[in-house]
């Protein structure tokens, strides 16, 4: 469903490659990608299941307001994928249900 601009033939120059892992599997993305953009480009539109009904959800607004893009990043739950840039070696996990609050 989603294609990168260069793949869509817009003439945009591809950025440097960055590798992250998603649920343990490696994906290649581009420097400057948000985690949300990287997941969409990698064909993973549903990055979480909702806390109440368990319905799959994915990035919607891409600008930090809808909270539909929550994922775990480097051990921290409920991070906004659209507001976080990819970094070499970053470990992303799918968010299922609500996060824990450690008491």
């Amino acid at each position: 469903m989603f294609r990168r601009l260069e793949a869509a033939g817009t003439g945009a120059a591809p950025g440097r490659t960055v590798r992250i892992s998603v649920d343990g599997g490696a994906i290649e993305c581009r420097e400057g990608d948000s985690v949300a953009a990287a997941l969409l480009a990698a064909g993973m539109p549903a990055c979480r299941d909702t806390a109440v009904s368990g319905t799959p959800r994915g990035p919607f607004c891409m600008m930090g307001v809808c909270y539909d893009c929550l994922v775990g990043i480097d051990g921290r739950a409920n991070q906004q994928a659209c507001m976080t840039r990819v970094r070499e070696g970053m470990a992303v996990v799918r968010q299922t249900g609500a996060r824990e609050v450690s008491a």
Binding site: V52, Y67, N78, E100, V101, A103
Partner: protein, 376 residues
């Protein structure tokens, strides 16, 4: 226009918030036809912005009867919740396993203890179980309780409900039982002739044999039109909402609770700010946040997602107002500061009185007459 098609209603309720809705819900057995007149989305609506506590322990200082009335409502709550579930399929998430007022330091503990003792000693208060807990006892009810909380007042009667689901349950029940909900029918003028009230609205005139004024902060203005003088004093409250987490199974606290769907509510200030409900202010939010994190340090990792202000519906002295107009018999006024807590008694005790046409003598203390005592 549309109003011309409405029949003369048995009862018209002015205001479709929690107070008007709980009364309409309870009136169904005693009235042939009911209309609920409401304004539109821009109205002042405490019912959409509150903290959702079903709460006894802080009620009635200065009026013992209010404590007793509130205790009665907490006892009726399970019945209301069960009925709503049965009738609408909506679980309003009532939980009554006790509640806490966390206290930080000796000064707060001593001041609160003196206050509670004075409250409980008043005439009209029906004694109920309460305890001062030390940190250790309170921590057994709130996993992860911060060390700054050195004590807490606990009662088994307090609890929480989801106030938005409550409002939805009432309105779902209306659809299913023929109560007419009429939004955009803000009442501008009330007159009575030949035993029938005429309520003027931008959408035409609604006629009813009985009316109940439950218009929140507008009850002062509308009350004047039926000979009831009720001085209103709005009180602003700001609330912060944190993201959903797995349930922590913490006993609800008066300004910190987890919702049935996982969100955390951090509340709620008590400010004299007139009618300014369109802003939130950093000093207040910072204070609320600071206290929440001292109460439950693990919350510092939990994201804040939004904050809002809403106005408490409040008569000048903070106590409920229930009265039938002497000059306009058949016109009742209902105003209260805790419309969530009192929803059960409004639906199951007060509504039948209104249906029968007279409030019980035990409600005399709640009349507007208390505002007109000659002071020398």
């Amino acid at each position: 226009m549309a109003a011309a098609h409405h029949p003369e209603f048995d009862v018209a309720i002015v205001g479709g918030g929690l107070v008007g809705s709980s009364l309409a819900y309870g009136l169904r057995d005693g009235a042939e036809s009911i209309a609920v007149l409401d304004e539109g989305d821009v109205a002042l609506r405490a019912s959409r912005g509150n903290f959702g506590l079903v709460w006894l322990q802080s009620k009635g200082f200065g009026m013992g009867a209010y404590s007793r009335w509130t205790l009665g409502s907490t006892r009726l709550w399970p019945r209301l919740a069960a009925r709503l579930l049965d009738e609408t399929g909506i679980d309003v998430a009532l939980e009554q396993k006790g509640g806490l007022t966390p206290l930080m330091g000796d000064y707060e503990i001593e001041a609160r203890l003196a206050w509670v003792n004075k409250l409980m000693a008043q005439p009209g208060v029906e004694p109920y179980e309460w305890k001062l807990l030390d940190h250790h006892q309170a921590a057994s009810l709130v996993p992860g309780l911060g060390p700054d909380v050195t004590g807490a007042i606990w009662t088994p009667h307090d609890g929480i409900v989801n106030p938005l689901k409550l409002l939805r349950a009432f309105h779902t029940a209306f659809e299913r039982s023929g109560v007419r909900y009429l939004p955009h029918h803000g009442v501008t003028r009330i007159t009575q002739a030949g035993g029938v009230f005429s309520l003027e609205t931008p959408k035409g005139t609604i006629r009813a044999r009985k009316i109940v004024l439950a218009s929140g902060l507008r009850n002062g203005e509308l009350g004047e039109q039926v000979g009831l003088h009720l001085p209103m004093a709005p009180q602003r409250g700001q609330i912060i909402v944190l993201e959903r987490t797995r349930p922590l199974h913490a006993t609800p606290m008066v300004t910190l609770r987890q919702n049935d769907e996982g969100s955390w509510l951090v509340g709620d200030s008590q400010e004299d700010a007139g009618y300014a409900d369109h802003v939130t202010t950093l000093p207040v939010l910072a204070t609320l946040a600071d206290r929440a994190v001292r109460t439950l340090p693990a919350l510092k990792e939990v994201r804040a997602v939004r904050a809002w202000s809403a106005l408490r519906v409040r008569a000048q002295d903070g106590f409920p107002v229930y009265e039938q107009s002497a000059s306009h018999p058949g016109a009742f006024i209902v105003t209260c500061h805790s419309g969530v807590t009192l929803a059960a008694t409004h639906a199951l005790t007060l509504a039948p009185m209104i249906a029968a046409g007279a409030l019980a003598p035990e409600l005399d203390t709640f009349s507007t007459r208390r505002f007109h005592v000659q002071k020398t």
